[in-house]
């Protein structure tokens, strides 16, 4: 197990380094310097600004300096908001996005897990078709359509819930969390159903039934652990999806999180902000992929055995 974790950790290092390098040079390749747009800037001022942001150095040196800053945990300043830096914006946005992501994940696991298991217990009956059709709708209804529709129905027509904001009015966290969680609930339901179906036909389930366990215990004590492996393996990619999905949801509901900062930075062409947040978000995603791989391996006795047991 430790060897497995070690190998995976070592694999993550070049990926993160590649992300940093590609992002850095892509952003530097962007046409026009960040201070070209301000028209009447005196040459001396421009030179001073460029020195401040280290744009006067040759590119390889800029890159090394940036890497040096990163090892110190400094993601660099913002071009657009003088005096603020990327770290500051991230530390303001991250808690909000994390909270939204956790709620959404809970929605997804709760809705998706239950409907997936329920559907798998009686395959090809109404108990299977109804949740699976709903899951299909969840997959085909993108968040940027589902969110506004929820706002229209529950916020505007029924006036049950606030239409935007985060933590200002009670209940304003409900709609963003549901919007973000629904698509993942759908995927989890499908994966959970497939995983459970495969497990339920295996010998050890028959053994469990043969020794006289009631069906609910067969499911909860024996089948779930194996059947949920695909779901756990999906959590890494789902986390990446939740982060990018939060771009849309935070824009729709005006949630002051990382996603909105990132989209605004993309609009403002705030290059250092994009660079910093890309590096940060990518690293986060790579780490979560790693975590979900490890968790899935730990749940899978065969993989565990392959790497020398516990």
């Amino acid at each position: 197990m430790w060897r497995f974790i070690g190998i995976r950790l070592l694999q993550a290092v070049p990926v993160i380094l590649a992300v940093i390098t590609v992002t850095f040079f892509l952003v530097r390749m962007a046409p026009g310097g960040p201070f070209d747009s301000e028209k009447a800037v005196m040459p001396e001022v421009k030179a001073a600004l460029e020195a401040q942001y280290r744009l006067d150095l040759p590119l390889p040196q800029q890159y090394l300096a940036y890497l040096g800053d990163l090892t110190k945990g400094d993601l660099g300043p913002s071009f657009k908001y003088p005096g603020r830096d990327v770290n500051e914006l991230i530390s303001a946005g991250l808690p909000v996005t994390a909270e939204l992501g956790i709620y959404a994940l809970l929605v997804a696991l709760f809705l998706g897990g239950i409907s997936g298991v329920v559907a798998s217990l009686k395959p090809n009956t109404a108990q299977d078709y109804i949740p699976m059709s709903l899951a299909m709708i969840g997959i085909c209804m993108p968040a940027f359509l589902f969110g506004p529709l929820l706002v229209l129905v529950f916020g505007i027509y029924l006036e049950w819930l606030p239409v935007a904001g985060w933590g200002d009015i009670p209940g304003d966290k409900i709609l963003p969390s549901i919007t973000l969680g629904t698509a993942y609930a759908a995927y989890i339901a499908r994966l959970g159903r497939a995983g459970m179906l495969e497990v339920m036909s295996q010998d050890y389930i028959r053994t469990a039934r043969a020794k006289g366990l009631p069906e609910w215990q067969v499911v909860t004590r024996h089948a779930l652990r194996g059947g949920m492996i695909p779901v756990v393996a999906f959590l890494g990619p789902a986390f990446a999806g939740l982060l990018t999905g939060s771009f849309v949801v935070e824009t729709i509901f005006q949630v002051p999180g990382l996603g909105r900062f990132f989209v605004q930075a993309a609009f403002n062409r705030d290059y250092t902000m994009i660079l910093g947040s890309t590096v940060f978000l990518s690293t986060l995603i790579v780490l979560f992929n790693l975590l979900s791989d490890i968790l899935a391996a730990w749940m899978n006795p065969r993989l565990r055995a392959q790497f020398g047991g516990r």
Binding site: V15, L26, A30, F144, F267
Partner: protein, 296 residues
């Protein structure tokens, strides 16, 4: 000699047609897949004929009219500039579908070639090539596409290429596993012993036999590509005015949905219906072509 070839020709020809015929018979039993196929065919025909059959010109606007709900003159209503919504959806559909198909073709070409080479070469080349795919898999591509659109400007061709370049990874994996199992088989060995080169063997013998999974996965890639385009356009980073797409129309609709809900609902319906159809068709094809669910 000549007798031999005719017999084997007949045998392969019959086997070939019956396989696809079988699949078609099985697909026909699947109502949802047929429904998907019908909707898609309709949408594609409409998209192709749009310049001739659209009820109004793309640039026709009636500012005095403003946003009106659906009526006899404008079946789906008009937007705030008095443009006919049906016309906008038809023109937007052209872009959305084009992105879906072109980007998927890019992904298909890269993925199939890459996977076929890796699977056929085997050994160290295969290991190195698939290692690269693993590394690319771990990259957060959504963020990179946003980055690309910021750095290089929001141009449609780039959007095609960027999305296509992201989606080829799974295609390469599927193709590689297909090739690996096919190249063990006798007819490939026969082709090798006949002295055919690797390129010919891949093109003539391996790709046709791996077609089933490729078709299924292609059908399932198109909706995810279209979603990606709509996602970017919704954020304002994809298709730019004066061009339009379903994602862009949904984004405008969401801004004004309080007063003019039809501006959100109809483009949303068009997008969802297309995604539904493609997914149902893909699932149906998977069952019909009996592709083992090797989705991941």
């Amino acid at each position: 000699m000549s007798n031999d070839t005719t017999i084997s020709d007949i045998a392969t020809a019959e086997h070939g047609t019956s396989l696809w015929k079988d699949a078609w018979i099985r697909l026909k039993k699947n109502r949802l897949a047929l429904f998907g196929l019908a909707v898609l065919t309709l949408f594609i025909i409409v998209a192709l004929l749009t310049p001739w059959i659209a009820p109004y010109g793309y640039e026709t606007q009636d500012l005095d009219l403003g946003a009106t709900p659906p009526s006899a003159a404008h079946w789906l209503g008009t937007d705030i500039f008095g443009r006919d919504l049906l016309t906008l959806i038809m023109y937007g559909g052209r872009i959305s579908l084009a992105v879906g198909f072109v980007a998927t073709t890019v992904a298909l070409l890269i993925g199939v070639t890459y996977g076929a080479i890796a699977g056929y070469a085997g050994g160290k080349i295969d290991a190195a090539m698939m290692r690269l795919v693993d590394i690319l898999y771990a990259l957060p591509f959504m963020i990179f596409i946003v980055l690309l659109m910021v750095v290089f400007g929001r141009n449609l061709l780039l959007l095609f290429l960027a999305i296509g370049a992201v989606e080829w990874l799974t295609m390469a994996r599927i193709m590689r596993s297909q090739v690996q199992s096919l190249r063990q088989q006798e007819f490939v060995e026969a082709a090798v012993s006949l002295g055919l080169g690797p390129a010919t063997i891949i093109r003539r013998h391996i790709i046709p036999n791996a077609l089933g999974p490729i078709i299924v996965y292609t059908t399932l890639t198109i909706p995810s590509v279209m979603l990606l385009e709509a996602f970017l356009s919704f954020l304002g980073l994809g298709v730019q005015p004066p061009q339009t797409s379903w994602g862009l129309l949904i984004s405008y609709g969401a801004e004004t949905m309080e007063e003019f809900p039809w501006l959100l609902i109809f483009p949303g319906l068009a997008l969802s219906l297309t995604l539904f159809s493609l997914n149902f068709l893909g699932d149906g094809l998977r069952d019909a072509l009996d592709v083992r669910s090797s989705k991941d």
